[in-house]
């Protein structure tokens, strides 16, 4: 008897929490259902969607964009946007070209590239935005123009072949039938999920995005949180850049450009608010899956490639519009 009462109490205390939490979970469940229904509905008509290898190629292709979108989620959550992730992705290709040219070992090349990306995010974007209080749009717009320009300087304006066994394995290898980029994306997702949902830092990201001044007065290191988010975002773009070089087998002066907006579309479709403080990594994953499934269905059923951007734009407006309308009811 006593046992039941004591065990019932904490459960009762946690009950309202569970009920309220289910709002987000329900919304994401609904979104997941939409993606699954779209996929299953199209399956009987499109033979490619029934082919395992085709689907694995698709997953591997979009793994890099997913990683960028996950990093971008941190920046958007704390209020901001990193315009330069696509440029960073391409820029890392140029670094790989340089370092491989110096005959450095693959491990050193990878570490140097990631360190450079992290340093740019943390100490250039992060410091200018958080400490020098410059507008995030201006700071990352500058990187958006500077990084591709440096890349062209390094590559002398044309695409250069790059071969590195490690990068080839990362981008094109398989483990137990699963492509390595997919595994890397899963690993990044797991690490970032723990960081955002189980650490004090993650809670502080939400707090800073919700009300920066209130978070500061409550004792949160708001500047450090902002810097870390830009660091994480740039680091993710660096990982995506390594995958891209490996996939292309070359460093290309226009590589990566445009991916920043594709990734942002996924983030926003996934329910992360541009005004900050609200959103999840799972939502970002779902947002990207939705875009990929949708564009695959359209392309495979014969819609000309040129229309895909228009469809994605309209989908974004409709999804965010529905979200707004639901909130106002």
């Amino acid at each position: 008897m006593t046992l039941t009462t004591t065990s019932a109490n904490p459960a009762a205390a946690a009950e309202p929490g569970r009920r309220a939490l289910s709002g987000t979970v329900r919304q994401q469940g609904l979104f997941l259902a939409v993606v699954v229904v779209m996929f299953l509905g199209a399956m009987p008509f499109l033979s490619q969607l029934r082919s395992g290898p085709y689907l694995m190629v698709q997953l591997a292709t979009y793994a890099a964009v997913l990683i960028m979108a996950l990093g971008q989620t941190f920046v958007v959550l704390q209020v901001g946007f990193d315009l330069s992730t696509g440029a960073m992705q391409g820029f890392v290709g140029g670094l790989v070209f340089l370092l491989v040219g110096w005959r450095l070992p693959d491990g050193v090349v990878i570490v140097c590239c990631l360190a450079a990306a992290l340093a740019i995010g943390l100490f250039v974007h992060g410091v200018l935005i958080a400490k020098a209080k410059m507008n995030f749009f201006i700071v990352t717009l500058a990187s958006f123009t500077i990084l591709p320009s440096l890349l062209r300087v390094v590559l002398d304006g044309s695409s250069k072949p790059v071969y590195s066994p490690a990068l080839d394995l990362l981008a094109n290898g398989s483990v137990l039938g699963i492509r390595v980029p997919v595994l890397i994306a899963a690993g990044v997702f797991a690490v970032l999920w723990v960081l955002l949902n189980r650490t004090v830092f993650g809670r502080n990201v939400y707090a800073v995005g919700s009300n920066r001044e209130a978070a500061r007065l409550a004792g949160v290191h708001v500047d450090r949180v902002t810097m870390a988010c830009y660091g994480i975002c740039a680091l993710c773009a660096g990982v995506a850049g390594l995958l891209l070089v490996g996939t292309l087998g070359a460093a290309d002066p226009t590589a990566g450009l445009g991916n920043e907006f594709f990734a942002l579309t996924a983030v926003l479709l996934g329910g992360t608010r541009f005004s900050g403080g609200q959103g999840t990594l799972a939502g970002t994953l779902l947002g990207l899956l939705f875009l990929v499934v949708l564009s695959n269905i359209l392309l495979l059923s014969g819609m000309p490639q040129f229309w895909i951007g228009a469809v994605q734009g309209v989908v974004l407006l409709v999804a965010v519009g529905i979200d707004r309308a639901r909130r106002e009811v």
Binding site: V200, A207, A218, G277
Partner: protein, 506 residues
């Protein structure tokens, strides 16, 4: 068509129900606001006062029921309400901060344009006419954001009057006003009603509002529990109606003054802050008064480490703080309850539990960089109980709580750390009587437990209710510092205005 004053209804509310999800904010409310009189709407936190005002002004659509404005025209939506002459002045000043004061007042007025072109000279004159009696003309060209909150609220009031309302709806108009501003407001209301206008006021200052009001409406849990004319016995009657929701007065008992906890020397800083010496002892509540702009909030933010000072020294328990470094202050045991909870207190879209725990990194709820989620749940449930946050749902977004309950979150967050020094800036701004009592009790409890408390209070009733010692600031300087027993309200007012007499220096 227009009948004698008071007989013709200005607003008729019929069967209005308003639900937000499962929460019933208004429950089948019937109400008539008479024309040409002042109606006070009173009630506890979350009783639906603000919702009622928002429904009448067309800001939100009721779930069911109707609202009719002057002349019995149905009010549906903001535009219809404005055509009917119903104008809302919300609790928090919402003005365009970058624009000068005159533009805020003339914004959207036909007087401010000539065809498609601007008529700035006329607009400015128009604004000056409506600002007269509230603020000096000299502020007309000042960017509105640079004014104090009290002054911004007066600008908002002038902007409302500039719309030539028939019915003026005021939501907690005195919450952010200082004593001067309150007088201006009352004078304005009397002028407006004298000229045939209708006013509805939501307020927690029962005595003030009943002094002005002809009618009173008492709301409880979304229902009208009393309406009627204000008479001699009304105040007592209303208090009885509300008191069921209130807590009994906590006995005020604190140990004798202990050692010095806070000592500030030679503080110099923004806007002429010049505090030479201020101390607060263990177990003592020091009330800081002053007109708005006197530096009282600046002093609080400097003591809490939220703002830097140009010079000076602050020690807590003998440990010097790094001025302007809030982490250093918190490590030394300073808790800060900032003014203006919307701007600097509440994480609106985060749940109650996150609001209570943000910034905490003690071992109770943390394990290295990781969160201890079971401990977090237990801690937030305990804080919700201790500060009586309602509804008691840890996962409810803070934005959906009433103002008083939001303030309890800010207070609970600060006091949960067991601080040595509590710096509270207007801790009960815009909260109702029961939340106010709960917050006062929490401050008294902190003092009884040996903390020193420095509380900025612009309301004299509150100042004298909670303080052991009163400090008055004027132009950044301490002009009065005495135990509460040796000072009267008139002396505090006189010292803060610098109007007369012997200034007993600290």
């Amino acid at each position: 068509m227009h009948q004698a004053k008071g007989s013709d209804p200005a607003v008729v509310v019929r069967g209005v129900t308003m639900t937000y999800g499962a929460t019933v904010a208004l429950d089948d409310v019937d109400l008539t606001i008479r024309r040409g009189v002042v109606t006070a709407v009173v009630g506890a936190n979350g009783s639906g006062k603000t919702t009622l005002l928002r429904v009448v002004c067309g800001v939100v659509h009721p779930t069911s029921g109707t609202v009719a404005g002057p002349g019995r025209a149905l009010v549906k939506g903001l535009a219809a309400a404005q055509r009917a002459g119903i104008v809302l002045v919300p609790q928090e000043p919402t003005v365009a901060g970058h624009l000068p004061v005159w533009q805020n007042i003339a914004l959207g007025r036909p007087e401010a344009r000539r065809g498609p072109f601007l008529a700035d000279r006329a607009a400015r004159a128009y604004a000056a006419r409506h600002l007269a009696g509230l603020l000096p003309d000299s502020v007309l060209n000042v960017p509105t954001a640079t004014l104090s909150k009290s002054a911004r609220q007066l600008v908002q009031l002038a902007a409302a009057m500039a719309r030539h309302p028939e019915v003026l709806m005021l939501d907690e108009p005195t919450a952010v006003l200082d004593e001067n501003g309150v007088e201006m407001l009352h004078a304005l209301i009397r002028r407006f009603v004298g000229a045939g206008g209708t006013v509805a006021i939501v307020s927690h200052r029962l005595r003030d509002v009943l002094e002005l009001a002809d009618d009173v409406v008492v709301l409880r849990n979304g229902k009208v529990s009393h309406t009627g004319a204000v008479g001699p016995g009304t105040e007592q009657h209303v208090v009885q109606l509300l008191s069921a929701a209130e807590r009994p007065d906590q006995a005020r008992h604190r140990p004798d003054l202990g050692h010095v906890v806070l000592e500030a020397r030679g503080l110099r800083g923004w806007r002429g802050l010049a505090v030479d010496h201020l101390v607060a002892h263990s177990g003592e509540i020091v009330g800081v008064a002053g007109q708005s702009g006197s530096g009282r909030s600046r002093l609080a933010s400097v003591l809490a480490g939220a703002w830097p000072a140009a010079a000076g020294e602050v020690t807590v328990e003998g440990r010097p703080l790094r001025l302007g470094d809030i982490r250093s202050a918190q490590t030394a045991g300073v808790a800060y309850i900032p003014e203006d909870r919307q701007q600097t207190g509440i994480l609106a879209n985060l749940p109650v539990s996150a609001n209570l725990l943000v910034g905490r990194d003690d071992a109770g709820v943390r394990w290295g960089p990781f969160r201890r989620r079971a401990a977090e749940r237990a801690a937030s449930t305990a804080l919700i109980e201790r500060f009586e946050v309602r509804p008691a749902e840890p996962e409810r977004p803070a934005a959906l709580l009433s103002g008083g309950n939001q303030q309890k979150l800010v207070v609970g967050r600060a006091l949960a750390r067991g601080a040595r020094l509590v710096v509270a800036d207007e801790p009960t701004q815009g909260v109702d009587a029961s939340a106010r009592a709960a917050i006062h009790a929490a401050l008294a409890e902190a003092a009884a437990a040996g903390s020193a408390v420095v509380a900025v209070c612009s309301e004299f009733d509150e100042l004298f209710e909670i303080s052991d010692r009163v400090v008055v600031l004027r132009d950044g300087r301490i002009v009065l510092d005495r135990p509460v027993g040796d000072v009267t309200q008139d002396e505090v007012l006189a010292a803060s205005l610098g109007s007369d007499v012997e200034e007993s220096q600290s």
